[in-house]
Symmetry: D2
Subunit: 435 residues, 4 copies
């Protein structure tokens, strides 16, 4: 088992570097908002995580690569110590990229040595924390894409992150349909997984009972075209469609469309990691806030799903591949029944899907739920600073479920709980309806 | 029935005036923060509510007392029209108090005429909305106390709102004990009430099933003395006790104690509506934020109750009287078993309570729950502007349950859902623990 | 001499009360911006000034009326001690108006006793400081009008401060003409005055030499009609007319016209202390910022006067009466030569003026100069806290010269230096051109 | 003459590149505050200046290198068009450094071609604007040093910009002495210069008369040691030493020492472009605000010079070399009479200086004056957008005179007027006293 872990460690570490291949050196420090950390910072912070939580405590007489990094690359772990202010991460021109790459190499070497030490008295903890470190790095790989997208988007030159090799074929959108579920007294939370997925974050535990009324979910995500209808119908002008805080939010920030929507010379455009592209009606709408998702749902005489409803619906469905697995960093349309071949990605299973199947659970956009992020009954965070990973954020944020085009599919599972503030829009966040 | 309603209308209208008896004219415009509306504004806004939602639509050719009031005294009903900016309510020196009193008289007269019209085609709606208007005015009576307390508190002279006739006797605090509940598949939400309580807000509906693990609640509220122990133990310095947003909040606002706590010449004092008073160890701690309540609970190896837990525990307990019913505007200590006579208020029932009874559900402090304010499954707000009453606030706020010393007991019931932002502290908000 | 002083003391003290006659009690606490102190605060602060700088130091065993007032009614004298925060003055509902009136009476009585003490060892200082206290109270009387105008203006009811007894007659405006001055090596600063005007603030001293190039001043103030032409010509859209800080200022605050200009149902209106009035083309434009005055001047191919130019031009002209002397609280038009009788005010001298005379130096609007407020060469502020009166403000403000309709004419003289930030607009500030 | 100009053009252009030699690529985008532009932006903006004001108007059918640069690299010229927001200049990772270097090369080539065109009908304007462009680039070279110093300073690693080859020898400070000047009716403003200095900015014109009382200036700049005495004497705690706006400024920003002063492990240190260095008592105090300079002067029973006083004192003194001419980017101490050899720089003249000579006029720190930046009598800015260079900033800023260690000496002259807001501290700004 530890060989497999070492291999996953290596692959993940390399992947973080590979994802940066298109960047100019100047891009590595880019931070256009407090929430959007620079690429170099992600590379260093994920390294800091291994150093702080594994090497420092478990390697005898460990000497840190640079003691200053303990503060510079701490994200939010008060238990570890102070943190360099988040909004200023882009101001760290030093250490240079070269120095950060060197930092990664040294930590990787030390980690491999430690992972090979079969007789270490804390071997179980080491292996567990390494597994956590890999999951942590995968989260930051996803953040890397969301953050660099935002940071490039404020440049009036609209730089292209990567060219799309071939244009996706035009598709006929699957019809929006309701899929019914019975509800009742159900169980949610991580169930232990299967051989491919044995890890879960602490916030997915414990598995527990909850009661659901019967409900329906939409079979696919809401599209740009459908969202445009909402706009055209005055969605952003009718206060009765909005939560009070949402109404204040769109007024204050003058929002009248999803983030990254542009009209250039009269044409509907969308800024993507593949450059400024024509906005396609059948593509899932993306980069909406929780408030926008909620208002759209109310306009549709529907609502957002609860996280329990989503999880029950997803519990029998295998995790599909994501765009990122194919170097596509933008959501793709749902196929109608007549276009059933998987053009751009492959399901992990090969069963034929019928017409009433729920689609786009993974691989396109995270899906806002109406559920406030809160501890499950009996939730226990880990002891010490590592317990700050999830628990302390359980206020004022909303749960999103699924996964997006920039989430690696190995990282996802039905019980996965993502969470952001309802006003956040820089995530690849979209809309699935419930009623 | 309508006679009883007219009587309740009259009593409530008069009560709003009576509560102001101690004010100087200069106090009526006082607004020390955006959230703390001036007394005169409360008097006018509760009047506007009847005019807008009852007289205007249901009296033929109704002519408003002053068309400008439609904007001046609209609180947050976008469906009605624009609103005068909330933070500037204190700047409305005109209309003068005299003019507002006159406004009240005219509306009262028009209301009574309408309520006596037995044959009005919309009589049912009128009676329902009048009931709602009374509940609405009762809410504003409570806000009147919370708001004027805050607005007086910023004056370095620490004005006394009303003198306390006699000092409360010193008491021995009831011991903090855990009361166990079974949980299971239970029902919460307004159950239709009894003959005394037939009204509920829309947010208490529909009654619905939910599943609870077994739980315990503390038998009484946390006291000043217990909260002082938390402070003395470094509660405000240990980040691991705090939600991330809470930690930022207490740093940003330099909070190290509940609102209204003072140390004057080395003495522990507390600003109250009865003036600056010595802080009593056995009094329930009050004016804490949800973040403070949550941190205290974590420090106690406990947690806050969910709103369903609270409601199940309260479902069999009668609503007791509140301080306001006896002109006491500050929470009072729980009595120990040896002081079982009710000194300052009377329960509505007269049964003898045993030692394991839950106390202080009502009448002292609202109790923070860990539950984010959200719609119940199947919740439907009313159509039109009146539907803005509750539903649009269902984001980012936390539910508080019970009632405080300034909530009239007629206004309360087990299913009542109060809600504030977790950073709010000017409410009479306290702490009950769960585990 | 001291009898005359006592009389001036009494008159000035009474005047402050008389000016409030139209207020409702609710108006006395009104403060719509940090810069606009409430009437009650002015009444108390001017009283505090006598108590702090005269009674406390010079009456043996003086006991303050209320020790808390030392902080509450200190404006900005750090040398005296702390100050209650300026933006919160409107929150002092207590002491009530009645208590403040009582405070005034007690101080007045104590002052009269002291002023009658012919043998007091510090009699000279007492008399000097009393003279200063009277000038100080006159300044606050003027501020009372400017502040209450602003504070009433944010009320959508646009309350009228006082009715105008009769409408001013319509007038033909005097033609705008240039009056030439020689310049050269001149002297400015207070010259000791005459029998009527023996007092000057320290900032008017010492009298000193300065060199002026030949210059011209406009014979009267710029009118609403002329300012409207500037607006119609795109004045607020052309950045090249504006100082950089001014351009930022009008963008940030979305200014496109003077403060208090309104367009109501298509009609040009102006909020005045006599209520909302039709805007008159011949009335001097008022309530413009220094930036607006400067931009208007540049648009006119002219500039603002320097303070030395203004003083030289004014040095031979007697001080005329102001609107406030006739209960007119709004600037009035300049008369053309054919309307030479003084309709609304009387010059203090009775000479016939010819056509080339400079007018409107006093009594309508303060006039922005291009001169930054700075110490005269050799300037010495008084020792102690009273030295904070003027000197510490000598940065970032601009000098205004003349006097306005709400400045009592006894308070004015050619060497008088008023000063405000260039972005301030709530003063009665207007425009005279130079070139 | 144009050959000499072409040579100066080439030298200046190359100098801008040479000054960057120590930077890492990551440093080129660094912007730690709105006022501190990134190195890459300076390189591009100085290039944009030639393109916009010379190539575009005077080369037939000129095609811009990249039309987007017109907005991206416009600093503040509203007459040219929109500007990319100043605080976001650091977010322009693209164009990359390589692309900006390429931009420079193309513009340089086009400029040389144009400068060689002897028969161009606007040759005079071209030559004049080229001269202005060179002066402009020299200003930005100086800003480059001040800005990168600030931007590096926020990095906890305190990166060294360049190593100092050898430590400066320890020196005995010249004694602080007063040098007396007669004053009287004098002339200031650019006098046409000599053969080395024929250029001046428009704000130095016209030369004009002004009247000065007799005055004294200190013979050298105030040192760190003297400033430390001011601090030790409670300078930052005594409000009476401060202008009102200055007092607010140091409270708001919690200032208790000059920018870049640190105490590290009990040692007095100073962040410099040569790294974190021990703070030397004899070095001129630097990076103080105008408010700090003014407060220090008041504490010294002195004042700041007026700009006219400074210019009269400097009018007979040759411009000395600056640190930057010798790769020293930090002010150096004044030598006492016994150390008369010029150790670190050479005066442009070789005369022996006597004891009563004024020193450190140039080459160490800009010197705050008490003069608000304003137009000279008869000032005329250039027509068109180029007229925005100086004139529109003539409000709210203070004049500084002299030059600093990072000002090339060719760029300086006695009539040179530098200007910053009184709260600015990131400039190399120091203190000379007057009385």
């Amino acid at each position: 088992m530890s060989d497999a872990l070492i291999e996953r460690f290596r692959v993940t570490r390399q992947q973080s570097i590979d994802f940066c291949e298109y960047l100019a050196i100047e891009d590595y420090c880019l931070q256009a908002a407090a929430f959007a950390s620079p690429p170099k910072w992600h590379l260093a912070h994920t390294t800091w995580f291994y150093e702080t939580f594994i090497l420092s405590p478990f390697v005898t007489n460990y000497r840190p690569v640079n003691p200053a990094y303990a503060i510079l690359f701490n994200s939010y772990y008060n238990g570890v110590g102070k943190q360099f202010p988040r909004p200023q991460r882009g101001l760290l021109s030093r250490p240079t990229l070269e120095e950060v790459i060197d930092y990664r190499s040294r930590i990787d070497a030390a980690m491999e040595t430690l992972l090979h030490d079969q007789h270490h008295p804390q071997r179980d903890t080491i292996l567990f924390r390494c597994t956590l470190g890999i999951a942590h790095e995968q989260q930051h790989q996803e953040l890397f894409f969301t953050d660099i997208k935002y940071s490039l988007s404020v440049n009036p030159l609209f730089p292209t992150f990567s060219m799309l090799e071939e244009s996706p074929p035009s598709v006929e959108t699957a019809k929006l349909q309701w899929i019914a579920y019975e509800g009742g007294l159900v169980e949610i939370g991580f169930n232990g997984g299967d051989e491919n997925r044995t890890f879960a974050f602490d916030n997915e535990l414990p598995r527990h009972k909850t009661y659901l009324e019967p409900f329906c979910l939409s079979n696919r995500l809401i599209t740009n075209g459908e969202y445009q209808e909402f706009i055209d119908d005055g969605g952003y002008q009718h206060s009765e469609l909005w939560l009070a805080d949402g109404w204040v939010d769109i007024q204050t920030r003058s929002q009248t469309a999803p983030l990254y929507w542009h009209n250039i010379d009269g044409q509907p455009m969308e800024f993507t990691l593949h450059g400024m592209q024509r906005r396609c009606d059948t593509t899932p709408v993306c980069h909406v806030s929780g408030y926008e998702a909620d208002a759209f749902a109310r306009w549709s005489n529907a609502r957002l799903p609860s996280e329990a409803e989503w999880e029950i619906a997803a519990s029998e469905i295998p995790v599909t591949c994501s765009g990122v697995d194919n170097a596509i960093y933008h959501p793709q349309p749902a196929f109608s029944a007549t276009q059933s071949t998987q053009l751009h990605r492959q399901a992990m299973d090969s069963e034929v899907r019928d017409n009433n199947e729920i689609t786009q659970l993974y691989g396109e956009c995270w899906q806002w739920t109406q559920t406030a992020y809160a501890p499950y009954p009996g939730y226990q965070p880990a002891k010490g600073a590592i317990g700050e990973y999830n628990g302390k954020f359980m206020a004022n944020q909303w749960v999103l479920r699924g996964g997006s085009c920039v989430s690696k599919h190995e990282h996802l599972r039905p019980s996965y709980r993502n969470f952001f503030y309802p006003h956040d829009r820089w995530q690849f966040s979209g809309i699935r309806l419930a009623k």
